[in-house]
Amino acid sequence: MSTHRSSTTAQGTVSSACRLAAAVLLIAAPSYARAQSAPAIPFEKYTLPNGLEVILHEDHSVPVVAVNTWYKVGSGDETAGRTGFAHLFEHIMFMGSENVPVGRFDQWLEAAGANNNGSTNGDRTNYYEWMPSNALPLALWLDADRMGRLLPTMDLPKLDLQRDVVKNERRQSYDNVPYGRAYETILAALYPASHPYAHSTIGSMTDLSAASLEDVKNFFRTYYAPNNATLSIAGDFQRDSVKKLIELYFGGIPRGPALPPRPQITSQPVPRDTFLVLEDKVQLPRLYYAWRTVKAFAPDDGPLDLVAYVLAGDKNSRLYKRLVYDMQVAQDVSAFHNSQRLDGGFQIVVTPKPGHTPVEMAKLVNEELQKLIADGVTERELARAQNTTRAQFLDRLASDLGKADQLNYYNYFVGTPDYARQDAARYDKVTAADLKRVAAAYLAKPRVTLTVVPEGKRDLMVTGVIQ
């Protein structure tokens, strides 16, 4: 799940559901079969002497351009007692730098017709602007100034202000949202405390309060160096002139020190079944199942994505059809596989309708899981999952901003910016036997069971493995 710097739009605020959708789209890496393949994205990649990677993709179809910069640092890199810091830092990156007074970053971009935002997840932090093509030099200059010269004007008031904003982001996206604390409750149970994904990107209020100006400076010096960043530009520009601008603006930024070693993770199932309950201000209880799986692009990653689809991806999917459509005992059900750079997790979430209980849901979900593990899936189910997922590869190429981010995503995860077609091919190759195999390999293992219950209704908790 990624957390954005800003949700303000002309229409109001983006709901937390939208943010969730955005995150799922990125991590689920969906695919589609038997229709058009995604076209190639011609690109040029090179590295400046200071270590900054540059990816350029020209597309002159509309006179717009997107700049998208990834720093290879996310909430997974946070130290104990500083959860939420990577995202808080992201906010501070918009507060001005040596040559950009407070407030001017946004004012200058808006005056040029540009919009901008940033987001943080467990693996990385990104910053992006999308704009009419003539505004590209401004975006690059602003990004270079904050990459090279953030600290000279950094002070405690900047940190304190964004600390308050982020605490409100936490309230708006987690604390004041029904079931909003379920996600981080599950993470804490699914992963050992030392695991990079054991805490949420938004972080705890206590840790947000504890972040100091010294933390900001150290974090910047450690992670915000050109040798830890990739600048991706997609859209209407001329490569020769933009390369000169990049050299001019970014070339003089000194290389940073060697980066701290990234954690090495060996993914393994949770050691034993864990049962949790969380009281919340909700009308209906909700049941969550979570398993540990594999990291993104591991051999079983794609098949697990398709298992999620077969379970709850459409109206004919196993859980949706039985619980929501046929029996009408559940209000909603979802299943998703969230594979990140170091590790992954699989979740099933069910809300019983009034008059039904989490225990009933547990029994029905387990029946369907056992059927899936014992009998596998039909060719039609597989085709629906593959075809639907593959269509989304095309959609991700519709905007320059989407392409710029995708180039960065594949560059960081697999080292090849234009990996979309190979990614899509992963899903085409999946067989019904693969689905049966991975369902058995991961979903029959111990899991985290969380029941969110209305306040005072702890008796609704699922307390055992229900067969």
Partner: protein
């Protein structure tokens, strides 16, 4: 990246293209890296060409070619929505449109879903205010099968009673869950208070009583009355050719029967009351949900451009006054914004934010400051920045097939000519400081605002009373006084 819907573009007629504050350096002078670069002129905007064909049954077809990707969007806009709901049957239009995908004369609900997934297409059907839309997003390789499914859903819905009962049960549960979400509670209470029993005061998805009252005959009547080719336009954007599209559309939609469609009535909202604070109790809420405003303007307003600029200054962008004050200066919220919902009849003007509970009174004081200050002169720099922002990002709305279709749907729903887009840059450019002041004073009246705040009554009510901004009335989500 689904959330990244808005994408900027550039414009033909903007006279100022450089970043503000950028000193214009002499040509070929040494480059000063401490100053933002001076930008070249934006490229001219080439609006997509629209081919319009009218079918004999009154269905208008509008096609835009966009061959970048092998994708197409088909968007059927029926110019009637939830404003047609009858009292006691609120939620009929949204329920009818949800039922379109739940069975046709030749396919049942599961077969429709199976086809959709197998083809890898998305079909959305839904009603809002003033329009009901069905949208097909498809790879063009699947065009024959996808269009057949799309036409079946649009033209031959069966409204099966079993599916109606299933959706009714689903909706009743959703209505129960409204109590979980402060922002949704605020939206309902605010609409009810500002519009009373007029159309826009009603919840789109009805309430418990109306949901229980709706019968199959009601949803069928909505469909039979308003789903007529003479009340509809089919927008097609993507990797298609107009002649080919016309041939397909004539074959699939040519037999659709026309019939006169009654004009909608919107009712009369209540006269504005002196500014009043309406509190809806949500015990223990970590944030207070603010909705502040009044009846605004219809989309046909002659003040469209001045209001667009004025609202952008006030709360329509990140650097707008509300967001700068409440978020970037005070830190009370993750975002504050405002907007005029311009519909066929006058929709609401609303300023909104989710505010940390302990700062509920302080935030209201800041909201009121900004809602008063916008009536004073807007500084020239601020006006120019705002106008450039609107002008220069406007063409970005036309980057994707869905974006283009969405833009055209606005024109169709509100009977605006395509030339509206040619006039946009000029219309924004013509707005003066005097215009902003005139429309702000006319449409934003700080003495007659409905202030709806959903939050923890116990902790926020005394402080709200102490502000003296207005009487405090405790209401429920229907806007009626709470017991």
């Amino acid at each position: 990246m689904a959330a990244l819907a808005a994408v900027a573009g550039c414009s033909q007629a903007a006279s100022v293209a450089s970043a503000p504050g950028a000193a214009a350096p002499a040509p070929n002078a040494g480059i000063d890296l401490t100053q933002p670069p001076t930008l070249g002129a934006p490229k001219p905007l080439t609006l997509p060409a629209v081919v319009t064909r009218d079918l004999p049954n009154g269905l208008r077809l509008m096609v835009v070619e966009q061959h970048e990707l092998p994708l197409a969007d088909f968007l059927l806009v029926v110019k009637s929505g939830a404003e047609t709901d009858e009292a006691g049957k609120l939620g009929t239009a949204t329920l009818a449109s949800s039922l379109l995908k739940e069975g046709t004369t030749t396919r049942n609900s599961l077969q429709i879903a199976d086809q959709e997934a197998f083809l890898g297409v998305d079909i959305f059907a839904g009603s809002g205010w003033d329009a009901t839309t069905i949208q097909l997003h498809t790879p063009t390789a699947q065009l024959d099968s996808a269009l057949a499914l799309f036409a079946d859903i649009a033209l031959r819905p069966a409204f099966p009673t079993a599916e109606l009962e299933r959706l009714r049960k689903n909706r009743l549960t959703s209505l129960l869950q409204v109590k979980d979400r402060g922002p949704e509670m605020a939206n309902r209470a605010y609409a009810a208070i500002v519009f009373g029993s007029a159309a826009y005061g009603r919840p789109l998805t009805g309430d418990e009583a109306s949901t229980n009252a709706i019968q199959q005959t009601d949803v069928r009547r909505f469909y039979d009355t308003y789903f007529r080719p003479n009340n509809a336009t089919l927008l097609v954007v993507g990797d298609v050719r107009p002649d080919d599209v016309e041939r397909r559309v004539r074959a699939l939609f040519g037999g659709w029967d026309q019939r006169p469609v009654p004009a909608a009535t919107y009712g009369q909202p209540p006269a504005p009351k002196p500014t009043t604070i309406y509190v809806v109790d949500k015990p223990g809420a970590a944030q207070s949900s603010f909705r502040i405003g009044s009846v605004g303007v219809p989309r046909s307003t002659a003040d469209y451009f001045p209001l667009t600029v004025t609202n952008t200054v006030l709360g329509g962008s990140f650097t707008s006054r509300l967001n700068q004050n409440l978020r970037e200066t005070k830190g009370y919220t993750y975002g504050a914004s405002s907007g005029f919902a311009m519909r066929r009849a006058a929709g609401p003007f609303t300023a909104s934010a989710e505010v940390v509970a302990a700062k509920t009174d302080s935030a209201l004081i800041e909201f009121m400051k900004e809602l008063r200050a916008i009536r004073d002169t807007v500084a020239r720099d601020e006006l120019e920045k705002t106008k450039r922002y609107l002008q220069l990002q406007f063409p970005g709305r036309f980057e994707t097939t869905g974006g283009i279709a969405g833009q055209l749907a606005q024109l169709v729903t509100y009977d605006l000519p395509f030339s509206f887009y040619n006039s946009y840059t000029q219309g924004i450019g013509a707005v003066t400081q005097a215009d902003v002041q005139r429309v702000a004073r006319r449409y934003i009246d700080a003495e007659h605002l409905a202030i709806v705040i959903v939050g923890d009554r116990k902790s926020i009510e005394p402080a709200l009373k102490a502000t003296g901004i207005g009487d405090v009335v405790v209401v429920d989500i229907t806007g009626r006084p709470a017991m």
